[in-house]
């Protein structure tokens, strides 16, 4: 941190960490003393205990810096503007007490005093009690897990190296988690990841879900795919494992390599439903590679009319299936089912629903203004050989798509007439100016009024007007209005 002193002062003045300023020092110390009393009097004062160890460690820090070099002091000043401590008398007991309490802060669950004094903790903290005094010189090594986490939270540099036993590491982690600061949790996780074997790390995180989620997020961020996959494998999260592996394909640009990669995804433990999608993805790309190579060749050879007339705007690689189908209906409509690029083949291979197929083929053929193909798309023969028009998507949709592709009125008219619902038919016919349909429908409805209204809309002296007049003058029709 490169703050100048002035800034530092400003910063601390404006912050609420009053514990570090001179004015509040008295309070802080008296609190310490009070809390000490509390401690002696009351065994349950867990939180107070924590506070004790917290504030005392500050004073220890001062002790060490006191005996340290000038440089160290300067540093300290810069960090905390803390030098005032030196002038204050220290309670004699502070020192040993603090080392005694250190590390006995809450490891997740609130430890009672008796817990803390039990064998295990005695074992792990005893060596520290007996540490030679010189070691305390490195003040930053002296923080308890909770102090360390607090410091980390304030964005300070803090060495974690001294937490070497597994228990210490885990305690550090629990402190971090209870602080709810993702940054700190991640800092501790980075340390744990570096200093623990992955088996141990995974095992411990499995029972610490919050930390686990952070590790997963962190691994995703830094792109440590390998460790992430190992982790999912360890946790037996098979679907996440499969998806994470599959996600990798997005980073592979080369189509051949991508295809090969997708092949490796096929056997992964996806749900049954997703397995089929993965298989389809692979097959689709495989097809696209073949079609692309073939068509690029055709296009550059310049012999095929369709490619000359409608040069391709983009490659078909990595396009969705429906787009591929459209492409195939556009360039390869008449091909036999045997070729990979034929629409019928695509339809069969990927079990494209009839609706979807018709919709796409219609759009493609209409775009090419191949009205004959459009016609064929909706013509079915029954067993007697009669032809009948049928559209799985409804003829009103057909009309809209045709209109979008600027089909001529004669074509539109034909399909508007096939719309079953009379109101829809009339609306569409009016919207798309299919005069004949409007006029005939009105006549069939015997709706003289509507016909009169429509007459005012058509051009004067046009054929439509004549037709309307002829009908209006006809004595054969019994108008309903």
């Amino acid at each position: 941190m490169n703050r100048t002193k002035g800034d530092e002062e400003e910063y601390w003045n404006s912050s609420k960490f009053k514990a570090f300023t001179f004015d509040d020092e008295d309070d802080e110390l008296s609190q310490v003393v009070n809390s000490l009393r509390d401690f002696v009097d009351d065994d349950d004062a867990d939180d107070d205990l924590e506070r004790v160890s917290w504030s005392i460690s500050w004073s220890i820090k001062e002790t060490s810096s006191n005996s340290g070099s000038n440089h160290e002091r300067e540093q300290l000043k810069n960090r905390n503007s803390f030098s005032s401590y030196a002038q204050l008398p220290k309670p004699a007991s502070t020192y040993s007490l603090s080392s005694f309490f250190r590390g006995r802060t809450r490891p997740g669950s609130f430890q009672s005093l008796s817990d803390a004094l039990s064998d295990t903790s005695a074992k792990s903290y005893a060596p520290e009690l007996g540490r030679p005094k010189g070691e305390y010189r490195d003040y930053s090594n002296d923080w308890s897990p909770s102090d360390t986490v607090r410091r980390l939270r304030k964005g300070k540099v803090c060495s974690l190296e001294r937490f070497r036993s597994l228990q210490d590491k885990l305690q550090l982690l629990e402190e971090a988690v209870s602080m709810h600061d993702g940054n700190v949790i991640t800092a501790v996780l980075i340390f744990l990841k570096r200093t623990l074997s992955k088996e141990i790390l995974f095992r411990e995180l499995e029972v610490r879900q919050v930390a686990l989620r952070h590790l997963i997020h962190f691994l995703k961020e830094i792109g440590d795919q390998k460790l992430l996959l190992d982790l999912f494998r360890f946790l037996d999260r098979t679907e996440e494992l499969a998806l994470t592996h599959y996600r990798e394909h997005l980073n592979i640009q080369d189509p051949e390599k991508r295809k090969e990669f997708l092949k490796t995804c096929i056997g992964l433990p996806f749900s049954a439903e997703d397995s089929a999608h993965i298989q389809d993805h692979y097959t689709l790309l495989e097809r696209q590679i073949i079609i692309e190579a073939n068509d690029r060749h055709l296009e550059s050879a310049g012999q095929t009319e369709i490619f000359r007339k409608h040069p391709r705007k983009a490659s078909i690689l990595n396009m969705p299936l429906v787009t591929t189908l459209f492409y195939s209906c556009f360039y390869h409509y008449t091909e036999a089912e045997g070729t990979f690029s034929s629409p019928v083949n695509l339809k069969k291979t990927f079990k494209i629903p009839e609706k979807q197929y018709v919709l796409t083929a219609l759009a493609a053929r209409a775009k090419l203004r191949a009205w004959h193909d459009v016609d064929a798309l909706f013509t079915t023969k029954n067993w007697l050989g009669y032809t009948k028009k049928r559209a799985p998507i409804g003829f009103h949709r057909v009309v809209e798509i045709l209109h979008k592709n600027s089909a001529p009125v004669q074509i539109l008219q034909e399909y508007v007439n096939l719309v079953e619902d009379v109101d829809t038919k009339l609306n569409l016919a009016t919207k798309f100016k299919c005069h004949d349909v409007v006029i005939d429908t009105c006549r069939d409805l015997k709706d003289r009024q509507q016909l009169l209204v429509y007459r005012s809309k058509v051009d004067k002296g046009s054929a439509e007007e004549e037709k309307i007049d002829a009908i209006l003058n006809s004595s054969q029709i019994r108008w309903k209005n």
Binding site: N13, D47, G108, H180, R213, H217, L243
Partner: protein, 718 residues
Amino acid sequence: MSLPGRRPFPVTLSAGRVYRTSGRSRKSSLSLAGGGYLCRCRPRSCGPAEWTGRGGVGQSGCKPEARSPEAAAVRPGGGHSFLHCGRGARAPSGALSKSVLLPEGEPSCAYPGVLPAFSERRASLFFHPAAQVTAAMAFPHRPDAPELPDFSMLKRLARDQLIYLLEQLPGKKDLFIEADLMSPLDRIANVSILKQHEVDKLYKVENKPAFSSSEQLCFLVRPRIKNMRYIANLVNADKMAGRTRKYKVIFSPQKFYACEMVLEEEGIYGDVSCDEWAFSLLPLDVDLLSMELPEFFRDYFLMSHELWRKLEEEEDGETKGRRPEIGHVFLLDRDVDFVTALCSQVVYEGLVDDTFRVKCGSVDFGPEVTSSDKSLKVLLNAEDKVFNEIRNEHFSNVFGFLSQKARNLQAQYDRRRGMDIKQMKNFVSQELKGLKQEHRLLSLHIGACESIMKKKTKQDFQELIKTEHALLEGFSIRESTNYIEEHIDRQVSPIESLRLMCLLSITENGLIPKDYRSLKTQYLQSYGPEHLLTFSNLRRAGLLTEQAPGDTLTAVESKVSKLVTDKAAGKITDAFSSLAKRSNFRAISKKLNLIPRVDGEYDLKVPRDMAYVFSGAYVPLSCRIIEQVLERQSWQGLDEVVRLLNCSELAFTDMTKEDKASSESLRLILVVFLGGCTFSEISALRFLGREKGYRFIFLTTAVTNSVRLMEAMSEVKA
């Protein structure tokens, strides 16, 4: 963090560093009123009141012992009634605002392509041919409504700090800015300020190398790994070339340890100096603060991320003598109410956001709006007088209002005809400028309206809205499903299709398996197989789910709850919900009456409730919760709703003991949206505020809408 039982009064609510400046300098500090309380809502699957992130499915949340002291200090239930709700529910509109009446039958401006008349109430959206400007327009606040604190100070603080940081690297330097920070930076400082502090050239941090010749490079970035890699590449390339320069990285709003780790790994730790720009709250408007963290939604609800700097309550003796400023604080997680955020917006500001994408309070109006060949960047906030009057209005009112405005303006221009020289001089020197300014704004918003109309007509907005309303009300589900299917088959925008599917899923407690399969398959076929990942994300976030095969829970549940007492039923449902998090939208909607019963037309010009922001079809759930809690002064009586919302923890802190809070400050309410809020919600609450004499302050991680929500979940970046 204070300890249980030691909570000092009043408590300063501090959010990250910016609030911390309140300690002594007394700058834009917000304190929780002595009589205020803290309400928060969070889903059951999470831990206690802390904001730990939570990710995927099947995670039971943190262990109970991870409970923070803060959470322990928070008592649910039991509130005091201390809010003076004022006289009557509704202020007489005529008395408070001048009503401008138009000659009837006047045509509104000539808008091409106005849709044909359509009689259905819910669908009659955009065309009110007889333009009448009513008193509802720019409805003012009640005279006793509290004043808003001045947040502009936050901008100045941020700017000063940035300048200070830039000065830390004296001399000429090039500045590399992360794309996401550009718009926020725009609101804080302009290029000339940067130049004043010796910033020479500006670069965008992106995936291509930048060739800067400066001896000093400064990077202004979010603490992200990819930014660190970018910087490392640059520095290491310099090293290879034997070049030495000075590098400084400014993290906003804070530095992450993970970033330092990358710097260390890349061998450039020590070569670059790091600093933090504690800029976390950007005032976008007089009542709107944004943290500008759009990625928060994804990180928090999908991945796992502790809040960068969680809101915390800290002791602060300094505030003891001060009058608290804010009466109530609401913290709402976005996943409490996905439905509202997924709906198409129809109030003007929301519609502008949906159509043109408002970015950091400003919008780029293209040539189709400006009716010139240039695009124009326009700031949209209370300072734009025209915008301020129409922002909260239903779009159908906006045409009429603007045309009336235009006529008034013309009349004012016309006055000059009868003027003598002296009057003319006055007119030119005093009024003309204002009129011209108004003229400019008017034509801009009229242009925007026309452009919106054109776009919406093209995409068959009527049909879309009809489907949305059907989903909200829960009728003709089959038709809606078919509509969505057709959307997908025709390859209409992938985001739109996804949004409708999510809306269907949440309102119906998940799709029935057959539909889920078929829609998903068709979606992958239409928009690409890689969206498999998107579906996985949506499922984990609870946005798009499949009803479990044996999901007869609802039936069992309702039977059980008839048989046993509410409490027992609650417990049983708890057990069920732990199996699958369900949205329960239908039940909540019924309980909270989110679909208003309307006899006849819903008059959008004189809205009767917050439903107007969705054409009278739906009261935004998030806003309804706030309304109800404010009315009751607690969660009391809302137990059933709370249960349905999957909120295990409803933190509720009541600090009624202190009587220092003035009644005025009690009606100042801070609403914090985690994961983003929409302009529609803001409009709805502004309406509530006007009705009841509250003033709302909105704090959000980012302003969001359905498109942003879906894009955050989408794995395939456009």
